[in-house]
Amino acid sequence: MPTVSRNAQVLRYLLQVAPGIGHVKLAKFAYLADLETLKYLGRPITRFVYIKDQFGPFDKKGFFAARDELVGAGLITENQVQCGDYLGFEMRPTDQVLEYDFTLAEAEVLRYVGETYLGMRTRELCDDVVYKTEPMLGAVSGRRLPMSVVARKPGHRLGFNLERMLAGEESAKAGRVQPLATVVDGLRSRYN
């Protein structure tokens, strides 16, 4: 089984959720996934270093290195396709198995990003979503984006926690539930 870099794993996973997308959309998906993991987990999911490029946040060198890695390992295919007046690329995962090292929360963020934005046109995705993200506001062309502005700040220790929410969902699926009334009665008996 091939092993690839973290960046390549992210792109491959996104292509499994959203097969057939092109370079721009895939790069934007990775960026949006980084924002979500920074927000919820306090760390980005990729190792990309985002610069404000002509079409928004992009780590050109990192992105194409990861793409080349995937193509070289036979994990994705890339085909040139006509997109209106210009030539674009369409990338798809192959059947080759890849073992990912994502946590449950990271995988859920990738699934969410891929499924949520798959139906959007690239222009719409850029204009309505990506260009309005916090690191892009006030960003300077050619300069590194301040991704840390979205990172989770130390808040209430019992504040929203993505990992706990997902654990709760797993519990629900496994039937580890009880009536609220039972739990509340138990609490009341403690505080009499």
Partner: protein, 94 residues
């Protein structure tokens, strides 16, 4: 029509931790406040909004011993869509 209201083991632990995090004199009121809020949600799940990776999320307030608290929860419906499972309960930062 309302839904049967269940809570997962994870959310039950969240609730216990939250209740235990506040002064003892307020815990009974807080328990009742959460119960009332979650019952309102079960009666009308549309009170929730999609947040946190599009999960239905309900923010609610209650007063315990004169102090206002802002907490929230996420939920999921059971497969047969008759029950609402509370999956996580948390404090809301304002």
């Amino acid at each position: 029509m309302g839904y049967v209201l269940d809570i997962t083991d994870v959310a039950a632990e969240d609730l216990l931790n939250l209740i235990e995090s506040i002064p003892a004199a307020r815990r009974r009121d807080a328990t009742s406040g959460v119960e009332a809020a979650l019952e309102r949600l079960a009666a009308n799940p549309k009170l929730a909004q999609p947040r946190h990776l599009a999960r239905p999320t309900y923010h609610f307030q209650f007063v315990a011993d004169g102090v206002k608290y802002h907490w929230g929860c996420t939920y999921a419906f059971s497969e047969d869509e008759t029950s609402l499972h509370v999956t996580h309960i948390f404090a809301v930062s304002l």
